[in-house]
């Protein structure tokens, strides 16, 4: 296995550090958004907003948070994640199918 990093110039290191920092900034923003969403979600329930509106909104908020987690915190947005993405989508598809059937057509 080749290891190009053995002779990596420090300039490269600096550059990478900066990149990491940039990414970290994104992560913090993501985090803040997630906290915000959570507040919104809890707020809606506590204030007893109409449930026809609340439930879909809650689900959408949850889905967005999950996308944040996967793409930012778990780096699925980065390259080299094709297979992971494929598998997660596969899993999510089966998962979605399961939940949809359990909660709709198939139940009496």
């Amino acid at each position: 296995m080749s290891n190009s990093s053995h002779s990596k110039p420090t300039r490269q290191m600096e550059y990478e550090k900066k990149q990491h920092k940039e990414e970290m900034k994104q992560q913090v923003i993501t985090f803040v958004l997630m906290i915000l969403f959570t507040f919104v979600a809890f707020g809606m329930v506590i204030m007893e907003v109409n449930s026809y509106f609340v439930i879909p909104t809650l689900i959408i908020l949850a889905l967005v948070q999950v996308v944040f987690q996967l793409y930012y915190f778990m780096h699925m947005k980065n390259k080299g994640h094709n297979m992971p993405a494929m598998m997660m989508y596969g899993g999510a598809a089966v998962a979605g199918l399961t939940i949809i059937t359990f909660s709709s057509i198939i139940w009496w």
């Binding site: 596969g90 089966v94 198939i106």
Partner: protein, 622 residues
């Protein structure tokens, strides 16, 4: 090194070698032996079933025992015979086909095997401890939750443990195929067997968790007082059916797809032609896997889901006939224009086509939701699935074993005996199961301990039983062949069939590090490509150098053993809480082993260049 140690140390060392091995080729042997034994047990159970049904009102087996027999027959055959035999083939072949030195996680590979074995043993221990599970292999609640004794508990624990092993095995093969391919082995150059292993592993990954959850719920209900399937407390018994079939339907494709792959390789080799419509074959495999997840409710047409759900699932199910048909026709056209050699492997494969087609077609008939109101839970269904499973999976395993036997053991199975085993099995198979379709339509439900006189079912059942005996004869001849070959036959070269893929580029059996030098793959059927250019073997992709190999370990064995012990603890704590000690001790062994594994660095070892040069002189790597 483990192999050399074994050669020196005699039987004890050989056993220790197999207990600790992480070599995929040896794990293949383990799977083969264990799966083979379970096949015999399952077959024996089938024979007892058939003897009981030989004549009306028979009392050969008692009613309760009969239910245990069918449950264990189904469970053993599917989980403990077919699956491990498939894993044996995948382990023996896949790393070789993609030019890898081993699987991605040799340690996990061994863990997967031992989990399966201990799970299987657990299940079969139930015979001796007061009764096997008796609610059918589908284990529908509440029959299962209210089944007295501990039989169903064994089902739950046994499948949970062996299921974990299967899941691990699946992930292992996925990573192996994604990450460990030799240079030049692109996805669209992978042999079909490797492709189907890939798709199968994906199915395992997504299907088994549903079973895991189902088994947990069942375990909680039976052992810890939960109320999932207790209608008095608001439970719903249909949840089990859904979870079981969300797993169960993909499971049947888990069984058949690897053998579709094997057939593809075999047809191509013995017709001396490249596979017809390779990319369509790959596409069809993926599509079957994909569609396999959307059809599970076709096992539940009579549950009362309503016409909308029934129609959706009916049409989705029928759709699977299309990619499967693509495969059938591609195989036919692989042979078209070829030079067909009727070896035993080819004979089983050729016999597979009409047999499986019949089974698939009755499958499509079953998929017609309304008509399934007649077929469901009758011998028509039994006929259908034995046609696909025996005519597809079992024929496939026989074909693949004949094909890869030389690679695994260095000797070609005796061809005469091979054909002698084939004919009684083939004829017996059709005798046994064809008539069952009619029995079903004439009013014989499945899982019937006795059928009564005067329903016109006597002749059919008799014929069916006779057929089963012929199958037994065929199986026994195959066993004789194995022994005969081991004793009498001569070693063969690495490429006895004029093969096309990478596994035939190395000696039989291969050295434990597989490839001396990783080969460079230059096209589909890499060996054939080299052969047509008049070359002897593959061009290496790397200079001769040290090879990194994993270390052997006993930990997979102890981890599985721990779960095995804990399983008994969980089962019997419902009678007597002191059994919890067993649960604790067992879990301690397992978790302790896991801890050791994570604390102790295991970086493997290297085989040095000098040793390799030594081996090459002895003729390895040609």
């Amino acid at each position: 090194m483990s192999t050399t140690a074994a050669q020196k140390g005699g039987l004890g060392a050989a056993i220790w070698d197999y207990l600790t091995t992480v070599d995929h080729k040896k794990i293949a042997h383990l799977y083969l032996v264990a799966g083979g034994l379970f096949f015999l047990i399952g077959g024996l159970e089938a024979m007892l079933i058939r003897i009981q049904l030989m004549k009306p009102d028979n009392n050969f087996l008692a009613a309760g025992l009969y239910n245990e027999m069918i449950t264990m027959h189904g469970t053993t055959m599917i989980f403990l015979a077919a699956m491990p035999l498939i894993f044996a083939l995948m382990n023996a072949v896949v790393p070789l086909q993609i030019g890898a030195r081993d699987v991605a996680f040799p340690f996990l590979n061994s863990l997967g095997f031992w989990l399966f074995l201990f799970g299987g043993l657990m299940l079969n221990v139930s015979w001796f401890t007061g009764g096997a599970p008796d609610a059918g292999w589908t284990n529908y609640a509440p029959l299962s939750t209210t089944s007295p004794g501990h039989g169903v508990d064994y089902y739950v624990m046994g499948l949970q443990i062996s299921g974990a092993g299967t899941l691990i095995g699946g992930i292992n093969f996925l990573v192996t195929i994604v990450n460990m391919r030799a240079p030049g082995m692109t996805y669209m150059r992978m042999p079909l067997f490797t492709w189907s292993t890939f798709v199968t592993s994906t199915l395992i990954l997504f299907a088994f968790p549903a079973l895991t959850v189902g088994l947990f719920l069942m375990m909680f209900d039976r052992m810890f007082g939960a109320a999932f399937f207790d209608v008095a407390k608001g439970g719903n018994v249909i949840i089990w059916e859904h979870l079981f079939w969300i797993f169960g339907h993909p499971e049947v494709y888990i069984l058949i797809l690897p053998l579709f792959g094997a057939f593809s390789d075999i047809f191509s080799t013995f017709s001396k032609k490249r596979l017809f419509g390779y990319s369509a074959m790959v596409f069809a495999t993926v599509l079957i896997g994909f569609l396999g997840f959307m059809v599970w409710a076709h096992h539940m047409f009579t549950v009362g889901m309503g016409p909308i759900a029934n129609s959706i699932f009916a049409v989705a199910t029928m759709a699977i006939a299309v990619p499967t048909g693509i495969k059938i026709f591609n195989w036919l056209f692989t042979m078209w224009g070829g030079q067909i050699r009727m070896t035993s492997a080819m004979l089983w494969s050729v016999a597979f086509i009409p047999s499986f087609t019949i089974g698939g077609m009755t499958g499509v008939m079953l998929a017609a939701a309304a008509a399934d109101f007649q077929y469901h839970d009758t011998y028509f269904v039994v006929g259908h699935f034995h046609y696909v499973i025996v005519g597809g999976v079992v024929f496939g395993i026989f074909a693949a074993l004949h094909y890869w036997w030389p690679k695994m053991f260095g000797k070609v199975l005796n061809e005469k005996l091979g054909k002698l085993a084939f004919w009684p099995f083939f004829i017996g198979f059709h005798l046994t199961f064809f008539i069952q379709h009619f029995l079903g339509l004439m009013g014989m439900p499945r899982r019937y301990w006795v059928f009564l006189e005067g329903q016109g079912l006597e002749a059919g059942n008799m014929i069916s039983t006779i057929g089963a005996f012929l199958m037994a004869i065929g199986s026994v001849i195959f066993l004789i062949n194995v022994v005969y070959t081991a004793v009498k036959e001569k070693k063969v070269s690495g490429d006895p069939w004029d093969g096309r893929t990478l596994e035939w580029t190395m000696p039989s059996p291969p050295p434990h590090y597989n490839f001396v030098q990783t080969p460079l793959v230059r096209g589909l059927d890499p060996l054939w490509v080299e052969k047509t250019e008049g070359k002897e073997g593959m061009t290496p992709a790397e200079p001769l150098g040290d090879i990194h190999m994993p270390n052997a370990s006993i930990l997979p064995f102890t981890m599985s053993l721990g779960l095995f012990i804990a399983g008994f603890g969980f089962i019997y704590q419902t009678d007597d809480k002191t059994w919890l000690v067993a649960a604790v001790v067992g879990m301690a062994i397992t978790l302790g082993s896991m801890l050791i594994r994570s604390l102790k660095d295991d970086l493997g070892h290297h085989i040095h260049k000098e040793e390799l040069e030594e081996d090459i002189k002895k003729g390895v790597g040609k």
